[in-house]
C-alpha cells in the first residue's frame, strides 16, 4: 500500500446513536476509524443493519455525529459553521442514493432536478448557461439533452440512476458517497452504471465511498474495502488483499457466502456457514459483537472489546485472534 497518498478524509472514532425510546439507544455506528485517500474508491460492506448507510450519511453530515470526528481536507465536518461555510462544504461532498425511484422528486423535470444544486450554489450566471451545463451533464452520464424536459417517471431504473449521478456531479464535488447505487438495478444495467462511475472517477479525479452489500461488485470497483458488523469496523484492507487473505472470521464467512457464477467452483467449495442472525444493535453482545456467531470465539471475546489495529501494512483488523496475548 502506498503510504504517501494524500488523505482526503479522516474518520476518527465516529459514533452515531439513535434514541429508540426513553431507555434504549440504538448504536447504529459505534466508533469507527478509517481514512479515505484522494482519488480512491473506498468500499464499505456489511449486512443490513450493520450501520454502513448511517456511516455514509454521518460522514456527509446528513446526520449529526453523536461523538467522534470527520475531517475533510483537514477541516472538521461536524464543527459549528455559518450557513455560508456549510454551503461550501456541501458543494464538495455529494451523495448518490440507492433507490432511484424514491430519490428523484416526481414533480420536477429532470433539468430542474439536476440544476437544483447549481441554483443553490449560484454557480452559473444566466438561464442559457444553466441549460448548457445541464445538457453537458446529461451527455456525460449517457443521456441526451432532450431528456431534460421530461419527468422522472418516464425513465427506467438505470436511467434514473444516471440522473442521480448527473445531479451529484452538477456542483463539481470532490467526494461522492454512493449508497448502494446499483442494488435496485438488473445485472446488465448494474454493469453500465459501474462502468460509468469508474469512467467519471478517472476523468474528474473523484473520490468515492461506495456502500454495498454485494461483495463481488465492491471488489470490482474498490481500491480498499472496509467491513462493518453491528456498528463496528471489523477489518480494513486493500481489496485484493482482503480477498486473498481475509483475517477476521466474519470477513471470511462473508466472502465464503457469496455464490460465484461458476458451477465447478461452487461444487468444489466448502462454505463457512455462520449460524443465526445479526443480534439487535439496541442490545449488542458484550466484548466482540461477532462472538455470538463466530465459529472461533474464545473466552476473552465475551470480556474485552478487541482493539482495531494495523496487523500488517495497511491491513487493519479488530479480532482477539490477532492479539499476541491471547494466541495459543
Amino acid at each position: 500500500m502506498d503510504n504517501t497518498k494524500e488523505k482526503l478524509l479522516e474518520i476518527k472514532e465516529l459514533k452515531r446513536h439513535f434514541k429508540v425510546d426513553r431507555k434504549n439507544v440504538l448504536k447504529a455506528v459505534d466508533g469507527i476509524t478509517f481514512d479515505i485517500f484522494k482519488g480512491e474508491t473506498f468500499g464499505l460492506v456489511g449486512e443490513s443493519g450493520c450501520g454502513k448507510s448511517t456511516a455514509g450519511r454521518t460522514i456527509l453530515r446528513l446526520y449529526e455525529a453523536t461523538a467522534g470526528k470527520v475531517e475533510f481536507q483537514g477541516k472538521n465536518v461536524h464543527s459549528k459553521k455559518s450557513k455560508k461555510e456549510l454551503k461550501n462544504f456541501n458543494r464538495k461532498m455529494q451523495m448518490i442514493f440507492q433507490d432511484p425511484y424514491a430519490s428523484l422528486n416526481p414533480r420536477m423535470t429532470v433539468k430542474d432536478i439536476i440544476a437544483e444544486g447549481i441554483d443553490i450554489h449560484g454557480i452559473i450566471k444566466d438561464k442559457k448557461e444553466r441549460t448548457n451545463r445541464v445538457n453537458e451533464l446529461l451527455e456525460t452520464v449517457g443521456l441526451n439533452s432532450e431528456h431534460g424536459n421530461r419527468y422522472p417517471h418516464e425513465f427506467s431504473g438505470g436511467q434514473r440512476q444516471r440522473i442521480g449521478i448527473a445531479r451529484a456531479l452538477a456542483v463539481d464535488p470532490e467526494f461522492i458517497v454512493a449508497d448502494e447505487p446499483i442494488s435496485a438495478l438488473d445485472v446488465s444495467i448494474q454493469a453500465q452504471v459501474v462502468n460509468l462511475l469508474k469512467r467519471l472517477q478517472k476523468e474528474r479525479n473523484l473520490t468515492y465511498l461506495f456502500i454495498a452489500h454485494d461483495l463481488s461488485m465492491v471488489k470490482h470497483i474498490s481500491d480498499r474495502i472496509g467491513v462493518m458488523y453491528l456498528g463496528n469496523m471489523v477489518e480494513v484492507a486493500p481489496s485484493d488483499e482482503l480477498y486473498e487473505d481475509p483475517l477476521h472470521p466474519y470477513t471470511r464467512a462473508l466472502l465464503s457466502a457469496i455464490p460465484v457464477a461458476n458451477p465447478e467452483v461452487e461444487r468444489s467449495r466448502e462454505r463457512i456457514i455462520i449460524e443465526g442472525d445479526v443480534p439487535s444493535p439496541v442490545n449488542p453482545p458484550s466484548g466482540c459483537r461477532f462472538r455470538t456467531r463466530c465459529p472461533l470465539a474464545m473466552d476473552v471475546c465475551a470480556k474485552a472489546v478487541p482493539e482495531f489495529k494495523e496487523y500488517k501494512n495497511g491491513h487493519w483488523v479488530a479480532c482477539h485472534l490477532y492479539d499476541k496475548d491471547h494466541q495459543n
Partner: protein
C-alpha cells in the same frame, strides 16, 4: 428420468391502459424428477409470470391466458377450475416467494399457517397439524420450535420467515417446489443458509425445484439445468455446465460478462447496452436484436428457431445458422477457474 411437468408454447398477456403486454410469448420447457431447474432473466423477462402460471396464480383480468398447455402428471393445468387448482396448490405444487414478510399472513400464528395446508389436504386434526408444524419448523432449522410455532411472523427475522415459508411449502410433501427469488431479499450469510437448507431438504424429500432468479451465482450453486429468458421468450436452455462453459446465445454471453469476476478487476465490465424491449409492442424478430452486438438483418424480422447444440442444450439465435458469420464467444463471458476462499 421421469418428466413431472411439461410446459408447451405457453403465452400469457396482461391488458393494461397502454395496450396488451405480452409478458410470456410461447415458452416450452420440462421439469424432471429430483432436478433443480433455474429460470434466469432480468426484470420483465417473464420468468415470474411463467412461474405463477404454473400455479394458476395470475390474476385474471388483467392477465389472460393466450395459449399453450401445462401438463402435470398427464393433466393440463390450464383447463382446471379454481376449485380443482386448490387441490393441487400446496399439495402437489408449492411455491415460496421473494418477500417473506408480505407473503405470510401477519394475523395468523406460524403454526396455524403451516397447519392450514395439512388440515385441508391431509385431513389431519388440529392437534396433529400442530405437532407436525413443530416437526417441520425443526426440519427447517428453527431453534426452539415449540415456542416458535405459537408466534406471529413479525416476531421472526427475515431469514427465519423464509425458513417458515419453506416449512409451509413443504408441509404436504409436494412433487414440485417453485422458488421465486427465494434469497433476493436476504443478506448473503442468510442466503447461504437458505440455499444450503433447500439443498438438504431436496436430498431428503426428492422434490423437484424450479428456481427463479436473476443471480447467476445462485444458479451455479444450486441448479442442474438452466432456462435463460429474455423478452418473454426462452433464448437458451441447457445443463448448468453447458450454459456457463459453452453458452451460445449473445444474451447469455452478456449476462455472464456483466458479472464481476473475482480474479480480475481492472477490466471493464462487459455491460449490455440499452434496455429490455417494451412487451406491449414486442419486436417482430429476436427480442434481443436492439441490444445484440452481432445483430444481422434477418434478426429484425424473423425469430430464430431453436437449434440443438447438444442433446440437452438448445439456443435460439441466427448465429447458429450456417449462413451466419462465425462468431467466437467474447473473452468477458468465459467463466474460468476462479480462486476462492472458504
Amino acid at each position: 428420468m421421469k418428466k413431472l411437468l411439461e410446459v408447451n408454447d405457453l403465452s400469457v398477456s396482461f391488458d393494461t391502459y397502454g395496450g396488451e403486454v405480452q409478458a410470456v410469448r410461447g415458452v416450452s420447457f420440462e421439469l424432471n424428477e429430483k432436478e433443480t431447474l433455474a429460470i434466469v432473466g432480468e426484470s420483465g423477462s417473464g420468468k415470474s409470470v411463467t412461474a405463477q402460471s404454473l400455479m394458476q396464480l395470475i390474476p385474471m383480468p388483467p392477465g389472460k391466458f393466450v395459449g399453450g398447455s401445462i401438463m402435470f402428471e398427464g393433466e393440463d393445468l390450464t383447463g382446471k377450475s379454481e376449485k380443482q387448482m386448490q387441490r393441487i396448490r400446496g399439495k402437489e405444487i408449492s411455491m415460496i416467494f421473494q418477500d417473506p414478510m408480505t407473503s405470510l399472513n401477519p394475523t395468523m400464528t406460524i403454526g396455524n399457517q403451516i397447519g392450514e395446508g395439512l388440515i385441508k389436504h391431509q385431513n389431519l386434526s388440529k392437534k396433529e397439524a400442530h405437532n407436525r408444524a413443530i416437526e417441520l419448523l425443526e426440519l427447517v432449522g428453527i431453534p426452539n420450535p415449540e415456542a416458535r410455532v405459537k408466534q406471529y411472523p413479525h416476531q421472526f427475522s427475515g431469514g427465519m420467515r423464509q425458513r417458515a415459508m419453506i416449512a409451509i411449502a413443504l408441509a404436504c410433501n409436494p412433487k414440485v417446489l417453485i422458488a421465486d427469488e427465494p434469497t433476493t431479499a436476504l443478506d448473503v450469510t442468510i442466503q447461504a443458509q437458505i440455499m444450503d437448507l433447500m439443498r438438504d431438504l431436496q436430498d431428503k424429500t426428492n422434490t423437484a425445484i424450479i428456481l427463479i432468479t436473476h443471480d447467476l451465482g445462485v444458479v451455479a450453486n444450486a441448479a442442474s439445468r438452466v432456462v435463460v429468458m429474455y423478452g418473454g421468450k426462452i433464448v437458451e436452455t441447457g445443463k448448468v455446465d453447458e450454459i456457463f462453459y459453452n453458452p451460445k446465445h449473445p444474451y447469455t454471453w452478456g449476462l455472464l460478462g456483466s458479472m464481476p469476476k473475482i480474479e480480475n478487476k481492472d477490466e471493464e465490465l462487459q455491460s449490455i447496452p440499452g434496455s429490455p424491449p417494451d412487451l406491449s409492442d414486442p419486436p417482430k424478430g429476436c427480442p434481443f436484436v436492439s441490444r445484440c452486438p452481432y445483430a444481422m438483418e434477418v434478426c429484425k424480422n424473423h425469430m430464430p428457431e431453436y437449434t440443438d447444440v447438444s442433446n440437452t442444450q438448445k439456443t435460439a439465435c441466427w448465429l447458429t445458422d450456417e449462413r451466419a458469420p462465425k462468431v467466437e464467444i467474447p473473452k468477458s463471458a468465459v467463466v474460468g477457474g476462479a480462486k476462492i476462499h472458504g
